[in-house]
Symmetry: D2
Subunit: 329 residues, 4 copies
């Protein structure tokens, strides 16, 4: 029995989610795509229904589950509507823009009495991150002492604000490092580089998180790395380290050098992760739950809550103690 | 409209093909699996039909297309039966064990008047080989002068015969290098290493093919490489070279060394290729043809025909001129 | 005219300095070695004079220049004696254990009216660091925003104290990063990892320095990395990054993995640096000065002075403003 | 007691040998340089004697040993003169241009009753080749089955003739692979690539040698690789493989790619080898012999003798049995 999926948002990510459901997900089919721009919805729907009203798509009888990939401020109302309709929802990060909305969603799901929300932190399904986690959990390397991360974007648009390096980019490290380490963060220090006069953002940021187990996560978040999109992680453990390999499949030797390439953004880098995530999401719905490996509603809430506090650490230039509210039951 | 697929053979490859159709191929579903061992067929079918008679599965009304992954000698009769039934068939390599049977299949398809046969040389769908081909075809590197290949198996069973290094393993290089170079092979030289007293096979073989364009393909075929399964290729062109990167996603530093791993056999190495091939196969059937990138019936025939002549080059230790019969029209 | 060199200290480093002067330095010869343990001095002297009194060796008429590689607390008095004798001296790091002694040495050299002191921060002569500096100074990469460093020791003896990770190990990064960046450090933050219950030291330390140009230097200093001795640096610049390659010359494929090795300690890793440093030291003496690339007396003093303040940053767990006294004229 | 060295030939290699003796070889000093071009000799001498007559330099009383780096046809008469004078000689490859002259030199040394000739196959002193040999000789990898070599020159001048790819370039592989394997070659097959219409040379050559132990050496010899000078080797053994790492010390990330560089020719690539060779040569002279690791007179003769026969394999395009005359006693 094939799962009928409605996708809300037909931008880059929404269109890709629609394509993945159509082409790469065996037990699901695309029912329709909603976008305020109907032509864009039609292109993404590729023959399935195209509508402008996301709420109506959530309510449609042939829509069994929903993917929310619309602009960030709409994530909360759409996800709440899906919960109200009793329909599983894969909500792109962020789950919501504010901690308050995140908690509201978590409460709604708790009241609904079953897990419905999968927050789209797709890195958890990336094969390279998966190998890192397997190496850490395998135990042969001993406890993690320190996790080095690089999060480099090729460039960002002019309207990008410094705190978005945290709320939009680093939020991925918040989630995936919590998952890798199986620990909570208790403190944050943010130190911006300001050496490059051409860049008003203070770029990169060096962000150091401390876990409740005493481990560190040190991340360079670069908004204008120029050479490409590059995500990297190395776990420094008691008996050794484990790190991602370079992402390239081929090496070219020309003009005096050996070269391997970087993708221009996250979409080619995490193509496998999006595909695998979609299959895991559909399979878990078949079991009446949310995939055990996925970021659930609480993981989504924690990422937004901590990101806000880490922005404060950037503003104050002081070590900030990180705090989480109680999880709604 | 979902394509109904029957899989014949429930060994390692057949079971994997069945799984891919079930789980990873959006527009197709698994109708049934045939295997002389019914319990094995049932495990691979995972709820779909399990039968012992492959011919009956080909004839079944709900089977729209067939994957042949049974023992090599059965490939020819099963593929001929699929053609006779007018059903598209993905036949695992080899298309047939003898040149004669290959030609018989090519003739049958020619008479059928449409392309039905996709020979399962899955490397053509491997992303790393795809990048090599794109780099070569892009033209920036100039014409290919030499292609270095490694084909290393971790070990082979005791019953393995020396010529199988060519007919079973190197046959992959025959096909994928013809495809990479867009050229035909005109001569072969085979030089076996015999230095390792523990190995009666003469292992590795060094096989040098010459193309009609004057380029060389030099391949080490190792049957007992011990350290793992390792396939590699580097194209040496007029302006530079392009090569596969190491296949690992992570690097571990322990015990005095940095390490990256190799798979134990071809299945993890070519998991992407099998998945992408299955999708391309199903999509092309929807268009009434065989995927343009796939090995078609003639490519399958050429691989078997040349492999036999290259075995002769090994036996005689002389440079052998390679010859192809006319393609059946 | 060959330079007569006396080496004080016949431990690992002293013996190696003696060997380098004997075997690898064309315009200098080893006159003698001093060590409290005469047998050890004799082994290092390998036919040259062996004595127990370092001060006497400094005074000897056939000793034109001195290498100080004795225990750290003796560096200051021996270096002062060399200055008093008007003899050039290569003093192993640290120049002196206390800031006060460093300043005393700098004043003595200033009074002597010519440069006599080369502080043995050998990394400045390492070819890999040299390529990093050339890439940075070349300007094609734009200004440095951030410098990532790894300083991993395989293990440290039981008597090792946490602050020695800074005063003994990290002091190398203090010097070499000042040299790479051509900038002074103005602030330090130290965050220790405490996740590994088996290690009381708080290991690794994450040390973040800020330069007067607004760039950052982020260093992991690990005392018990277990897998080997590993020093690494990557400069993140406005147009790209430049990093050290892995230090191995060969790669081995066995047992399912490709491996490249790490040295057990700094001696093989920096063998080239020590050799090249010795030649530069001798050549500069021939010109009546100290090598322009070397750490001079003030660089040696700065390293000790800053290390002490960075230890304070570890103790207080607060961002510490770094300050330098005026340089003695 | 410092060894007085005379260098004959002040071209690129001769000048570099002179510099190495002056600057990097502790127990030897440069007495003089001979070159038909006196100005060139003076530049290389850098203060030592400059002369035009190499024979006179060999005879000079203060010359204890000679380095021959003059044009190839002069190697034989100069080396014979050094032997006649009883003076140790490091003769750049080739020892002589013809097998006959090589044998004449070997006979002269045999009559002299002591080892005087070191043939300058410097790769034996390259640290990467040294690690390969140590790995092979260590035995942990089992017997060598196959050795893959790359010998890529960036470009060659217009007057370069095809056979020079063998007599000038590949001759290095002949020597270093004999040394690595501790075996003699018994057969050769040469297959040229002719695909690149712009290159009349037939480039690259694929050369396959067979050893008396049944192992293979497969070498790509490229004269116009364009991207740089690149020498590589991988030994395929019964239990695994060992290969050279990439030669770069740093990696740059810019413009969408990670890059590591190649040298433009053999001089930077083998700078360490030349320096270490010079020290070994001088040290062995101190012991009254030729360095045990070096190519001696017979190794030099074998390289020239086999190169001539391998040229024949190229001309005839047939497998050629390789034969050595008896070694003069
Ligand atoms: Mg978004
Ligand atoms: Mg098969
Ligand atoms: Mg010391
Ligand atoms: Mg020459």
């Amino acid at each position: 029995m094939s799962l009928g999926v409605g996708v809300i948002g037909a931008g880059i990510m929404g269109a890709d989610h629609a394509r993945i459901i159509r082409e790469e997900t065996a037990d699901a089919h695309l029912v329709g795509v909603a976008d305020a721009d109907l032509a864009r919805a039609e292109r993404a729907a590729a023959g399935a229904r195209a509508v402008t009203d996301g709420m109506a798509l959530i309510g449609a009888g042939d829509v069994d589950a929903v993917i929310v990939a619309s602009p960030d401020p709409t994530h909360a109302p759409l996800t709440l509507a899906a919960i109200a309709a009793g329909k599983p929802v894969l909500c792109e990060k962020p789950l919501a823009v504010t901690p308050e909305d995140c908690l509201r969603i978590a409460e709604a799901e708790a009241k609904a009495g079953r897990k419905l929300v999968h927050t789209g932190f797709m890195r958890r399904f990336d094969p390279a991150y998966g190998e890192l986690k397997a190496a850490i959990d395998g135990g042969g390397l001993g406890p993690v002492r320190l996790l080095h991360c690089l999060h480099r974007n090729q460039y960002v648009p002019g309207w990008f604000q410094p705190q978005m390096a945290i709320t939009n980019s680093f939020v991925h490290e918040i989630d995936v490092c919590r998952w890798l380490l199986g620990a909570e963060f208790v403190a944050a220090t943010v130190i911006p580089s300001t050496s490059d006069a051409y860049d008003p953002l203070g770029d990169p940021l060096l962000i150091v998180l401390e876990t409740d187990a005493g481990a560190l996560v040190s991340t360079e978040v670069s908004m204008n790395a120029e050479y490409g999109y590059h995500v990297h992680a190395e776990a420094v453990c008691a008996r050794g380290t484990v790190a991602m390999a370079e992402p390239a499949r081929t090496l070219t030797r020309t003009d005096g050098a050996r070269r391997s390439g970087y993708p221009v953004n996250w979409i080619p880098r995490f193509a496998d992760a999006y595909r695998i995530q979609a299959r895991a999401w559909v399979a878990a719905i078949g079991q009446g739950s949310v995939d055990a490996q996925a970021a659930d509603v609480w993981d989504g809430a924690v990422a937004t809550i901590l990101a806000e506090q880490i922005v404060e650490a950037l503003r104050t230039r002081r070590r900030v103690a990180l705090e989480l509210p109680p999880r709604p039951q």
